[in-house]
Amino acid sequence: MVEKKITKAYCIKEVIDALSENIDESTVIAGGTDIMIELREGKLTHSIIVDVSDVAEMKGISITPEEIRIGAAVTFSEIVKSKEIKAALPGLWDACKSVGATQIRNMGTLGGNTANGSPAADSVPPLLALGAKLIIASSAGDDMVKLSDFFLGKGKTALPKGAIIKEFIIPMQGKKSRIIAFEKLGLRNALAISRISSAVSLNVEGGVITEATVASGSIGLIPTVEEDMSKFLVGKAANEDTINQAASHFSAIVAERLKGRSTVEFKAEAIKGVITKALRKAFNQVNS
């Protein structure tokens, strides 16, 4: 068996150089919470591992009225500790707080959560609902990609070989905070993989929803921007009646999408509660 080689990188250039040594054989470890399981199961065939957990350009949170930038190696705990993120992007904060448990959050990173390509990733639905973009670094330089274009299938992403997610960019639309809510249904309160999740981002004026983006996790093969649900909400009043209608509408969407699968009865019913809670949280953020 080929012995594995590891580089502990401290800057992006070191990462790209190490990956470029052999782009077919190289992979990245950040928090390790996904990749170490693959290693243990013998599924990690790469012979070159690059540790990016301490790469300077991938850490750090910066907040301006135009955008919030979060480094890909920022851990869930670092996001939870940020009072600024809690105030500016409450749903993203909630999602990060819901991941695993303390130890997992201390290690797991935003970048890893996206790069792993799981439909159950908790931080992805809020990032999708917010219209987040990724900066992808490679030997060809930096590239900006919409997060909504990044997921190609279960476990498959548009990350090219030899490249790495460097940063997340979240548009703030000139505001101090965005209306963003997240709700997840897991089988227990901690250490729970999401069974379904929903994120809702809204703009509300005079009690009417003027813009909406709904995103879901674990309903289908990839984290999904729910175009139909998003259009459904626009123009409706931000009230309980809309929530009831939204719950039925989403239930019908899920029933159709998962038709024939064993989870359809559970998920088509459970999505009502999840979207109800998410919308209530979002409406509570209006004018707060």
């Binding site: 012995e3 594995k4 080689k5 590891i6 502990k8 470890i29 928090g31 390790g32 919470t33 170490m36 399981i37 290693l39 243990r40 591992i49 540790d51 957990s53 705990s77 695993g100 448990a101 303390t102 130890q103 997992i104 201390n106 290690m107 309160n189 901690a190 250490l191």
Partner: protein, 159 residues
């Protein structure tokens, strides 16, 4: 191979190790510190919890190389000159130990919390051990033990 430099329980080590060696295996096999346990190997149980640079982590999910030039605390490092750490003592005093397998991880999670926040809320205490599973005790006495440890806590890292 990687030339690892690491500080464990206050002692500096330099060892040549394989790239894919887990921190857990380094601690148990290379250093012979078997207090840290492997309960599941996949980050679900917390029995392998250690503290790295003040932060509680699952050592089964970390490569040893990721701790290059870092400080690691294992359960063996808590007792000083024959005196148990307040958290350890409180676990004993409150009957929070049954089979003992989850205890090193549980104690270190609690220590990591109290080191950074010497006055946690009940919710914060529950949160800090939410990644440590115990099949014996039902968690109640552990919660009491951590609350009581908080009272007599001097806090090594406390400012």
């Amino acid at each position: 191979m990687f030339d690892l430099k690491i500080n464990v329980n206050g002692v500096d080590y330099e060892r040549e190790i394989k790239a894919d060696m887990r921190l857990l295996d380094f601690i148990r096999n290379e250093l012979g510190l078997t207090g840290t346990k492997e309960g599941c190997g996949e980050g679900e149980c917390g029995a392998c919890t250690v503290i790295v640079d003040g932060i509680a982590v699952d050592s089964c999910l970390m490569l040893a190389v990721q701790c290059h030039n870092k400080k690691v605390e294992t359960i063996e490092g808590l007792e000083k000159n024959g005196v148990l750490h307040p958290v350890q003592q409180s676990f004993l005093d409150n009957g929070a130990v049954q089979c003992g397998f989850c205890i090193p991880g549980m104690v270190l999670s609690a220590k990591a919390l109290l080191d950074s926040n010497s006055n946690p809320t009940d919710e914060e205490i529950k949160e800090c051990v939410s990644g440590n599973l115990c099949r014996c005790t039902g968690y109640d006495k552990m919660f009491k033990a951590i609350k009581n440890a908080q009272k007599s806590y001097s806090g090594e890292g406390e400012k």
